[in-house]
Each structure stands twice: as C-alpha cells, then as structure tokens.
C-alpha cells in the first residue's frame, strides 16, 4: 500500500512545478504569447530560490527572488517579442542559452568553488490536520509543502479569471484576434506584457520549487528539460486550466511509474532507457492522437499595427 501511496504522492509533488509552469503558459498562450523562454525561467527561478534562501536564510526571500528573476527574464522576452515583434521560438532559444550561462556564471561569482555541496533548508512538509489523516488521499494530497497547497488555490483562480472576468475575456480575445481587442480599446501589448510577466512570476516559483521545495540545493542540470514538459502540457491540455491539471497529473504519474520501474532494477524485458523516454514518447503520442485542438488563433503571431 505504501508503495502506491508513495507513487501517487510523488506524482503530485512532481506535478506541482509543472502545473505552475503549464498554467502560466495557458494564460500567456491564451493571449497569443508562447513563452518559449520557460526553460530559462524555470532555471533562473531555481537558482534565485536557492540564492535567496542561502544568502538571506529564509525560503520566503528565496521565492521572492525567484519570482523577481523570473519576471526579469520574462520582461526581456516580452520586450523582444511584443515590443520588437521578433520571433517567439527564436527569442526563447536565445534566452534559454543566455540564462543557463548566467546562472552557472553567477553561481561561481557568488560561491566560488565549494568542495562540498551547498545546502539550504527545504520547505517543510506540512501535514494538514485532520485532512492528512484521511487514508491514502490524506497522505497524497495533504502532506505536501506550501507551494503545492498554494497551487490548489491557483487552479480555480486562474479558471475563474480566464472565463469569468473581463480581464480573462481581454486575454482570450487578444490571443484569438488582437485587432478585436485593439478596436475595443484594449492595449494588445499591455495584455501580452502582463501575461508574459505573470508567466515569469509563476515560472520563477516553479523553478524555486525544485531548489527550495524539493531538493534543498541548486545544480546546473536541476531543470533538465522540465520547463519544456510544462510547455508541452499546455498544448496537450488544450489551452485550458483544467486540461493542464489533467496533463500534469498524467505526466507526474508517468514519471513516477517510470521511476518505480527503474527502481526495481528495470522491468526486465524493457530497457531502462525506454522508461526515461516514456514521458517524451507519451507527449508525442498525445500530440498525434489529440484531435480538435483549439489553439488560440493568433498564437505566436506578433501584433503589427502599422506595417511598413
């Protein structure tokens, strides 16, 4: 039993940062902005979370720094893609390379060459009284860290904002037809800046989750492509917050199960590498099998008001 609970609890834990990332991506993409810098934002969030906590001794500072740095990267991204109208995929590629370099570089500037790993205190596991006593569910859902609990609140909040408020309507219209927003007196660039900066904020937290919430340290390979997974989940979740939730859980579960298989020393007939590739294969399969995608009509297209 405890094996199953463990698998589920870990799936949820690993889903948390992915969900922060994919929800923020949903919001941004609904406004027409693919945040392809997400991998870099995750990384700088992880780094910022570590540095803030290490230097100032409190996870709160770590999270704040992570959000701040995430927003900075997002702001650069928004400036280049929104104001300067340059290509989103390309800009993201450049920023991801740059951020990776900067994190490693400043890690050395700040901490030199330590011989033993620099550790910080992890966010504690907070068992919620009563709820955490529920068999299985309690252990899985209510014995997590604070960031996971915040996530529970964020899911309905994002849904509500996107579909029940004028802000959400403006965001969705901007992704479908920016001209409509513009004509309606909504600044397309403002909306897009905001959603991208929000992505930076959330992505920063997601990154911080890895360093502060999960591992208590920072390494250059800490994100290792997980930002892209969050990015993919946004697609697979059909640009809907609930879709993203399902997508993330599927992924968290796939990863958990693949690790379970590996922990048994491999499944015998299937090589280890198969399980490593499994989440990626799953993405491809889902991308292929998923029909009637409702991709925001102007996703990735810069808004040009007065051409030439």
């Amino acid at each position: 039993m405890s094996v199953v609970v463990g698998i589920l609890a870990r799936a949820l834990t690993m889903s948390t940062p992915l969900l922060y990332g994919s929800l923020s991506e949903v919001v941004a993409e609904r406004s027409g902005m693919m945040v392809t810098a997400i991998e870099g934002i995750f990384l700088i969030g992880a780094w910022g979370g570590f540095v803030g906590t290490y230097l100032w001794g409190s996870a709160l500072y770590g999270i704040l720094l992570a959000m701040g740095l995430g927003v900075v990267v997002a702001a650069v991204y928004a400036f280049v893609t929104v104001t300067m109208r340059q290509h989103q995929v390309v800009t993201g590629t450049a920023l991801n390379i740059l951020v990776a370099g900067l994190c490693t570089y400043f890690q050395r500037v700040l901490f030199g060459i330590p011989t033993s790993p620099l550790k910080i205190e992890r966010l504690p596991q907070l068992a919620i009284p009563l709820l955490s006593d529920i068999p299985i569910l309690g252990e899985v859902f209510f014995n997590q860290n604070i960031l996971t609990y915040i996530m529970y609140a964020i899911i309905p909040l994002i849904y509500f904002v996107l579909f029940r408020t004028s802000t959400g309507l403006a965001i969705r219209s901007t992704g479908e037809n920016p001209v409509a927003s513009d004509v309606a007196g909504i600044s397309v660039n403002f909306v897009r800046y905001m959603t991208v900066l929000f992505s930076g904020l959330m992505g920063g937290v997601a990154g911080a989750f890895y360093s502060i919430g999960f591992l208590g340290m920072f390494t250059a390979g800490i994100i290792g492509g997980r930002g892209w997974i969050a990015f993919a989940i946004c697609f697979l979740g059909n640009w809907h917050p609930f879709g993203a939730v399902v997508g993330t859980l599927v992924f968290g579960l796939a990863e958990s199960i693949s690790i379970y298989m590996q922990s048994l020393g491999g499944a015998g007939f299937l090589p280890n590498e198969f399980f490593i590739a499994l989440p990626y294969i799953l993405t491809i399969v889902l991308t292929v099998s998923r029909r009637n995608f409702k991709v925001p009509a102007k996703l990735g297209v810069p808004y040009v008001k007065e051409g030439g």
Partner: protein, 327 residues
C-alpha cells in the same frame, strides 16, 4: 607572469628533484576536466587534488575545465605541442584520445585519472579501485541496516560501476545474513544521469518505499537528491566518494571518501620521482590509503572496529574481492 597566478598557493616544501636539476614546480603540468570545477562533485574533487599537489608538492599545475568531448583530443595535442611534461585528464572518457595523441609526443606523459588503457611508454593512467571503497562501505551498511534491505543507485551502467556495486551488494547482504536477517537482499537501479538531482530524489524515495532502509548511491549530483529522499523518509544513507556526512548528518551515517588529495599527491609525486611509468595502469586503493571511512555519531565502535579489521585484512592480502564480481 603565469606562475604567480597559477592555482594553489602554499609554501614550497623541499621536494627532492629527481635528476638534481628540476624541482616539482618546474614541471609544466595541466589537468583537463570534463566539467566545471564548481560542480560540487567529480570535477570539484579532482580540482581539490590539484590544489593539494600545488600545496604539498610545490607543483604549479594548471587546469582547463568543461572540455567537451569533441575537444578531448585537440586539448591533449595542444598541451603536448606546448611541451607540457605531464598532461592529466579526469575521467575514463579520456582514455581513447590519450591513446591517439600519445605516440606523437613521446616527451609528454599522459595520465588519465580513472583510466584503464595504458598502451605506450608515455601513457600512465591512474586508477582508484573503487570496488575496494565500496567494500568498506558494505561493511558499514551490512552492520547498520535494520531490515537487510539494501538499495543501490548507479549513474550509468559500466564495468567498474557494476563491479563496485556488486561488491557492495553481495558483501552487505552477506553480513546482514550473518546478523540473522535471513531476508536480506539488495536492489539496484541506474539513474542514467550524473546530474539530475530531482530524479535522484524520486528514485531514492521510491526504493525506500519499496522497502529499503539503507541507500548507497554513486552518481554524482544524483546522489545528493537521494540523500534528500533518505532524510525525508528516515532511511540510512552510506556516503560515497566524498564526505557526504555534512550534507545530512542525521541521515548519512557514514561515508567512504575517495581521498583524491592523497591520490593526486601520490600520483604526481610518483611522476616527479620518475616512477609513473608508461604501459601500466597505476592502481591505488586501500593499500595506498586513498579510501577513508568517515563516521557519523551513530556508528558504534564495533562497526568501526569491523571496518578497521576489513582494512587490515585487505592490506594483509587476506581478502579476495574478485569473487564478488558478476561474471
């Protein structure tokens, strides 16, 4: 100019010059590293060895870090061209490039740390017999485990890795059985990564959930994640290669460290003395004193004594570890 700024400081001990002319500091030596020196793991360990040499032997070893695989050969060649006396490289992956370059530069000695390929008068790899270290680790593990359920995680499966894990697993299980834990067993997993910390944590947690109470991980940063898992779940962790006790003093009950400082000093000193000869893999292990146990507060004196006994027996040639290798 360069000598003043070279890495490592410290006073110059009066190292005996082999041919009466050259002091240790006169040799041009470089260490090639595959990753950044602040990686808190393999590269950092090797870098520490370099610093120790410069401190203790008075050498002026330089280093290059983060050399990409496509540049291994050219880096060897470059330093050989620049008439370096000794080119060291940290990692078995340098074996082939060293073998390819060495014949053209007979005046340069090529020393691959962890290397096992020694074809040439000027190819002199040094090799820590890691399975001897894991043997020591297994003595501790076998004695501290409460349920005899051992979990091991390796970075990537390769021969030395398999050897050291087999020695550890079989010996630890044997000890546990002696202690009356009839169900003792070991499970092994490979992370297929050296640096995915998050994966290390998940995998470690999973193995503990599967029933293991003692973890042993040899996979660089991946291991740091597993320590975190052990800490969270209250399992024991046997540190390996570096002193991991400080990472989580409650959890890492003991570490068997590779004393790369001793190892490097041992190797470079041999070179300076002229005994680091080619065509030979210079192996070091328990006998050379490069593996050292470091104990946490919870290790009993009996366990410590058992380790000491294992070391002494081994030094005396009473132990044959090859019986533990998988065939």
């Amino acid at each position: 100019k360069k000598s003043e700024e070279s890495a490592g400081t410290g006073t110059q001990p009066d190292s005996s010059a082999p041919d009466g002319a050259k002091a240790a500091g006169d040799y041009k030596i470089v260490l090639i590293l595959p990753g950044p020196i602040n990686d808190q793991s393999w590269n950092a360990t090797n870098y520490a060895g370099l610093v120790a040499c410069n401190d203790q032997l008075g050498t002026k070893i330089e280093y290059v870090e983060n050399v990409k695989s496509s540049d291994y050969e050219s880096t060897f060649r470059e330093y050989a061209e620049r008439k370096y006396d000794l080119v060291m490289a940290a990692g078995t992956q340098f074996d082939e490039p060293a073998a390819a370059v060495a014949p053209n530069y007979p005046d340069t000695t090529f020393c691959v740390v962890n290397g096992s390929k020694a074809d040439g008068d000027n190819v002199a790899p040094i090799f820590p017999k890691e399975y001897e270290a894991s043997y020591l680790a297994s003595v501790i593990a076998g004695n501290v485990s409460e349920n005899g359920n051992f979990a091991t995680i390796g970075g990537f499966p390769n021969e030395p890795m398999e050897k050291l894990l087999s020695v550890y697993e079989k010996h630890a299980v044997a000890i546990a059985k002696e202690r009356g834990l009839a169900d003792a067993k070991a499970t092994r997993a490979y992370a297929n990564s050296w640096d995915d910390v998050a994966l290390g944590k998940q995998m470690g947690a999973q193995m503990i959930d599967n029933g293991a109470d003692t973890l042993f991980v040899y996979a660089n940063e991946v291991g740091l994640g597993s320590i975190e898992a052990a800490k969270e779940k209250g399992a024991k962790f046997i540190g390996f290669s570096s002193d991991q006790n400080s990472v989580a003093p409650e959890t890492v009950v003991a570490s068997v460290i590779f004393d790369f400082e001793t190892f490097y000093v041992w190797a470079v000193d041999q070179y300076v003395k002229g005994t680091l000869s080619g065509n030979k893999v210079h192996e070091a292990g328990i006998k050379e004193g490069i593996f050292k146990p470091v104990y946490g507060p919870d290790i009993s004196d009996e366990v410590k004594a058992a380790v000491e006994a294992a070391i002494e027996d081994y030094k005396a040639g009473k132990t044959d570890l090859s019986k533990y290798f998988d065939k």
